[in-house]
């Protein structure tokens, strides 16, 4: 039986705010609320990385938030997709270049769909989620690493990949180039 097609039918989302102005978060909640009703696609807001397939990230990733972002991402079981919601999450938006932000989510974790807009419109978000589902269907079940760990992590940690060690290593690396 091909189980892949069911991924599309039951995407559970995790929503993480990496320091946004809450504009995009309100729009995400609006998607889930009766007017747009994302649940008709089977979407549930689980609030729990271990049971989610889609990570909806808003905000420009402040320095306080990056460690949590990595941890949450690594706690999600594969296959998983990341949707960056809002201009901030895509590029840093209005916060770009500030001393305390990291200018976008994709510096740390691989992003599959970018949803533009400040704030992103609910229709756009829904569109983004639907696109993400198409990507999700094709994804493999291999371990997905955070940005800075891709490539040489096997070399550093040896062959047995332990998620906990990867998280620790990923967090260590995101502090490597600290400017503060």
């Amino acid at each position: 039986m091909n189980l892949k097609k069911y991924r599309k039918k039951s995407p559970w989302i995790l929503h993480y705010n990496t320091g946004s102005c809450n504009g995009c978060d309100v729009e995400i909640l609006a998607c889930l609320a009766p007017k747009y009703d994302l649940e008709r696609f089977g979407v549930l807001n689980r609030g729990n990385p271990k049971q989610s397939d889609i990570l909806l990230v808003t905000g420009p990733v402040t320095k306080r938030a990056r460690e949590r972002l990595i941890r949450l991402y690594m706690e999600m079981p594969e296959p998983k997709v990341v949707v960056a919601v809002g201009a901030c999450a895509c590029t840093g938006g209005v916060f770009r270049g500030m001393y305390n932000v990291e200018n976008g989510v994709d510096k740390f974790i691989p992003v599959d769909v970018y949803v533009p807009g400040c704030a992103a419109r609910p229709e756009n978000i829904i569109d983004g989620v639907v696109r993400a589902l198409e990507i999700l269907e094709e994804k493999k079940k291999d371990l997905q690493l955070t940005r800075k760990c891709v490539g040489d992590i096997e070399y550093v940690l040896g062959k047995q990949l332990n998620r906990r060690k990867i998280v620790a290593e990923g967090i260590r690396r995101c502090y490597e180039d600290r400017r503060d």
Binding site: Y16, K50, E67, R71, L72, E75, L143, N162, V167, I171
Partner: protein, 618 residues
């Protein structure tokens, strides 16, 4: 048969003296070890004989008991003066006075003073198996604690067994008083055993509280002589139940409630935990507190269906719930066990005072399984104390990684106190179904509510502890069993096996064994049947596959903790992505400790009600 009964009573004393005098630790261990097969054999001999029978005693025994009584009370008085305890002294004086009065008015009775029926020999069996195993354990325990005083300690424990055997076989209530107070003395000495300040204080408290029970018995005898002109259990049982005055029985039940550590007299049993752990084990399981349900069982045919019985049901049912509630607030392992004993004693007396055959059966099942399981848990508490230096449940946190066997036994013990299909659950279940038959009276419907709520509270309590001990960080790095001394493994292993086997064959155990006791108490068999493992009660049945299935399910849990391994990624626990060090505690239910005075007030009120209304003092 007389000789065997005599041997059962006297042999523990001889063993005690031998242990006390023997110079060598090994020798003492062998002697203690011998007591198990010897006493068990004798108890079985009594069980298989032609029960019930009376034993005539020569006249000098009567005199000896009287002299002993005075000596005992004199000793209490001396202790009261020595430790400047006003209560103990006053109560001792009152007891002396009442005893003299009783002896003056006691009529002559042709009934022999010793009466052995199935109930007695059932208690013999419990004492002989559960009790002696604790003594064997105590030899090792005291070796680790204080070898110099080991002989004294084990000797007192063994002697206690003899006293207990004597106490359950007397027929004459005046003698029963003497033995009741002797068990008080034994517990007093044992609780005081460490001789530090707090031990002495708790021992004194145990002393005066139990003296209150003694006074209740004496007053009971006085009224029994006044109203019925008899003072033997068998004679009282012969009286036509409907017409008699309840006053003596009311006082006897009060003494049972005190001995059974029912609120508000529960503090003495809690205080007993300062003594070495085998003391708690022996007080809670085989001896001492089991006198309470024993006494109620003795008088249950007379009080059945009376107001006294209904009030007893309410009082003990309330204690069943309240003690469970208070246990939730505790974090000391032994204190939790003590509260749960109080709670379960309440249930035993509740079922005993219902008085119907099925309820009596439930009570006996409870007595047996509670003795075994509580002994197991207390022995485990001692092991944890001595081997792993753990006293509080918070400290048990990572014990599962260090001590798999101990944790397995503890988990099993706790589960067998509450979950299907272990003996205590079966007793609870048949009591519920029995009580549903009399629902038109408030006491019975109250008993149903109390039993369910109390049962759930105990479940909550036990799972709180199991939760703490089952918590672990990750996979086992390497699996190895802890090395325990042989005696510890042997004693606890015996209990575990008997719990599981007893629960598995509960149907036959209750029909072929316990039901005979029921017949002797109520005059008719409880209407239960056994088909292979299936237990059939009057209105319902528990099937063999249910019992087997539940036991297998429950056995899988602890075993799987060590042997199941899944190949999958390991991740952190979800903490909202924060990287924080966690210190996970347990819920301490501080909301309950606030209402403790309130609970005690209600308990006092119920106590007084039982005495005044139930005993017919108005």
């Amino acid at each position: 048969m007389e000789q065997i009964v005599g041997a059962l009573i006297v042999l523990p004393w001889i063993f005690a003296i031998a242990v006390f005098l023997s110079p060598n630790h090994r020798l003492r261990q062998i002697l203690t070890f011998l007591s198990l097969p010897v006493l068990t054999y004798l108890a079985f001999k009594v069980w298989n004989s032609n029960l019930p029978f009376f034993v005539e005693t020569p006249h000098w025994v009567e005199t000896a008991v009287t002299v002993f009584d005075y000596l005992l009370l004199g000793y209490f008085l001396y202790q009261g003066i020595k430790f400047r305890s006003f209560l103990v002294s006053v109560l001792a004086v009152a007891q002396l006075f009442l005893l003299t009065w009783v002896l003056l008015i006691l009529p002559h009775s042709a009934t022999p003073p010793i009466y052995v029926d199935r109930l007695t020999s059932f208690m013999y069996l419990i004492v002989a198996t559960v009790g002696t195993i604790i003594c064997i354990y105590a030899t090792k325990y005291m070796e680790q604690e204080n070898l110099d005083r080991e002989n004294r300690f084990v000797a007192i424990l063994l002697w206690f067994l003899g006293v207990m055997n004597f106490a359950v076989s007397v027929n004459n209530i005046e003698w029963f008083f003497a033995l009741f107070e002797t068990t008080t003395l034994a517990s007093y000495i044992l609780i005081r055993f460490r001789w530090d300040e707090i031990s002495v204080k708790n021992a004194i408290r145990a002393l005066w509280m139990n003296q209150v029970g003694g006074i209740a018995i004496l007053i009971g005898i006085l009224f029994a002589v006044k109203y019925y002109n008899v003072y033997n259990f068998t004679d009282i049982l012969k009286i036509n139940a409907t017409a008699i005055s309840m006053i003596p029985l009311g006082f006897l039940s009060i003494s049972a409630l005190v001995k059974g550590a029912q609120m508000p007299f529960h503090k003495w049993l809690l205080g007993a935990m300062v003594a070495p752990t085998p003391v708690s084990a022996i007080l809670h399981s085989a001896t001492m507190v089991k006198i309470a349900p024993y006494l109620i069982l003795r008088i249950s045919p007379v009080i059945k269906g009376t107001l006294l019985a209904k009030l007893l049901i309410t009082t003990t049912g309330f204690v069943f719930v309240a003690a469970g509630l208070l246990a939730l607030t505790q974090d000391n392992f032994k204190r939790i066990l003590a509260y749960s004993t109080i709670s379960l004693l309440g249930l035993m007396m509740l079922t005993a005072s219902m008085g119907s055959s099925v309820a009596i059966l439930a009570s006996l099942l409870l007595i047996f399984f509670h003795a075994v399981v509580k002994a197991l848990l207390f022995l485990e508490a001692g092991i944890m104390e001595k081997e792993f230096h753990v006293k509080y449940i918070e400290e048990m946190r990572r014990l599962i990684e260090k001590a798999p066997i101990t944790v397995f036994f503890i988990a099993l013990g706790f589960m067998s106190m509450t979950i299907v299909p272990y003996g205590i659950f079966i007793a609870k279940w048949i009591t519920l179904e029995e009580a549903s038959n009399f629902i038109s009276h408030g006491a019975y419907i109250a008993s149903i509510i109390f039993i369910t709520i109390g049962g759930v509270i105990l479940t909550l309590l036990y799972f709180k502890v199991i939760g703490v001990i089952s918590r672990k960080r990750g996979e086992f790095v390497s699996f190895k069993l802890e090395k325990l001394p042989f005696i510890y493994m042997f004693t606890t292993g015996l209990y575990v096996i008997s719990t599981i086997v007893g629960s598995l064959f509960i149907a036959h155990f209750s029909t072929d064994f316990v039901n005979l006791v029921v017949k002797d108490i109520t005059g008719e068999f409880a209407n239960i049947k056994a088909e292979s493992l299936t237990l059939i009660t009057p209105v319902s049945q528990i099937y063999d596959w249910q019992i087997l299935g539940a036991i297998i399910l429950l056995m899988i849990v602890p075993v799987s903790a060590y042997f199941v391994y899944f190949k999958a990624d390991r991740v952190y626990e979800y903490t909202c992505g924060e990287n924080i060090s966690l210190n996970i505690g347990t819920y301490n239910f501080s909301c309950i400790s606030k209402i403790e005075p309130f609970i005690e007030t209600i308990a006092v009120a119920l106590f007084v009600l039982t005495l005044v209304l139930g005993g017919g003092l108005v």
